[in-house]
């Protein structure tokens, strides 16, 4: 079920193909994720563990030792044909949890790639922990198409190179600004979005820095 990442060669100009790396240990849920992303015109690679995700991102210790952190950048990985616009991970997985994976990604050359964590449980401390560690969103399962629409701004953001300053607003009302000096992304979410309360975790309206 894995697809080849779309290699656009140089820059993504018109008609970009978003490539999502989805991590979930449940086969049933991977099937749903695959369908949801394809319905949203994204390419998706599905793996069943955090270790497999790291392997795909070439972040396993054996792979990382082949290049220094300073020379490996997302752009050079793109030159090698490896492009990931978004990482979606389940929180509860045997072995490496989604949180552990999030930490590893945010401490690597893939740190600018948005990471979204999913969970079937609405645990506020878990949610804030993930958001503080750099997760862009925390979505409650089971996922629906409307949840993927929320990911649009993050996917669009991933097309912008860190060196550029972008100020744009999307239909969902999020303001996205990239700070060129430290590559931090500030996302301000408007409170009281029209999502049903059961679908969003209780920290809606929290400014994420």
């Amino acid at each position: 079920m894995e697809l080849q990442a779309d290699v656009s060669g140089t820059q993504q100009t018109q008609n970009p193909h978003f490539h999502v790396l989805a991590v979930d240990d449940s086969l049933t849920e991977r099937k749903l994720l695959e369908r949801l992303f394809k319905e949203s015109s994204c390419e998706v690679t599905l793996v069943d563990s955090g270790d497999k995700a790291l392997e795909y991102l070439r972040l396993l210790d054996s792979q990382e030792s082949e290049s220094t952190a300073s020379s490996t950048s997302t752009r050079s990985l793109q030159k090698e044909g490896l492009k990931v616009n978004l990482i979606m991970t389940d929180y509860s997985m045997p072995g490496m949890s989604g949180y552990d994976l999030l930490k590893r990604v945010k401490g690597s050359s893939w740190k600018d790639i948005p990471v979204v964590v999913m969970s079937s449980e609405n645990v506020p401390s878990r949610i804030s922990m993930c958001l503080e560690e750099g997760a862009e969103e925390f979505l409650l399962k089971p996922l629906q198409l409307s949840d993927l629409k929320k990911l649009q701004p993050h996917l669009l953001k991933s097309l912008v190179y860190p060196s550029k300053v972008v100020n744009s607003s999307t239909d969902s009302g999020n303001d996205i600004a990239m700070n060129s000096t430290n590559n931090n992304v500030v996302i301000k979410r408007k409170a009281a979005s029209p999502d049903p309360l059961e679908r969003r975790p209780k920290l809606q309206g929290l400014a994420v820095v």
């Binding site: 449940s26 086969l27 849920e29 749903l32 369908r35 629906q144 198409l145």
Partner: protein, 179 residues
């Protein structure tokens, strides 16, 4: 049978499954993802669920038979099973899983054993009902009735009348979900 009666039968059965709480809105979401390119998506997903869940139920059963019972292990298994159940909209199964997890976290072995029987029962009942439902779908398609998928081939009139019915039902369900 008249092809529209086929459609009606299937829709009535789905309505009944929703009303009785066997399935919830998530099942509707799965059907929304079905189209000409993925005409069997719902049945495939349900089949995947049942193929995998059997293994988890066995693991839980074995773990319940251990002495002493490894409750954290049971908790992990059941969380996984509950997550998969909810992804196909299996409400009653999911609710029994929740009860099981509560007993598990209280290290209540008897409660776990009792509730596990309920989990297995709901799991089996839903399987039988969904098999009937998918069989109805196959009969309907064989009779040439309009597809429940979003189809390029369905005539606009057929699709519009089905869509109107479906939107009516969906708004009904959304109302119940929100209240």
């Amino acid at each position: 049978m008249d092809k529209n009666r086929h459609l009606q039968r299937q829709l009535d059965m789905k309505r009944s499954l929703l009303d009785q709480g066997y399935l919830d809105e998530q099942f509707i979401q799965l059907e929304e993802l079905q189209d000409d390119d993925n005409p069997d998506f719902v049945e495939e997903t349900v089949t995947t669920f049942y193929n995998n869940s059997a293994r988890f139920l066995q693991n839980i059963e074995h773990t319940l038979g251990d002495c002493p019972i490894d409750f954290p292990k049971l908790d992990n298994y059941m969380h996984h099973f509950k997550g998969s159940s909810s992804s196909i909209g299996a409400t009653r199964v999911k609710n029994e899983c929740t009860r099981f997890i509560e007993y598990c976290q209280a290290a209540n072995a008897q409660g776990c054993v009792r509730t596990f029987l309920q989990v297995k029962q709901e799991h089996a009942i839903l399987k039988a009902k969904l098999e009937t439902y998918f069989q109805m779908a196959k009969s309907r398609i064989a009779a040439g009735a309009p597809s429940l998928c979003r189809s390029k081939n369905t005539s606009f009139a057929e699709f519009a009348s089905y869509r109107k019915y479906k939107l009516f039902r969906k708004s009904d369900i959304v109302y119940r979900y929100l209240k």
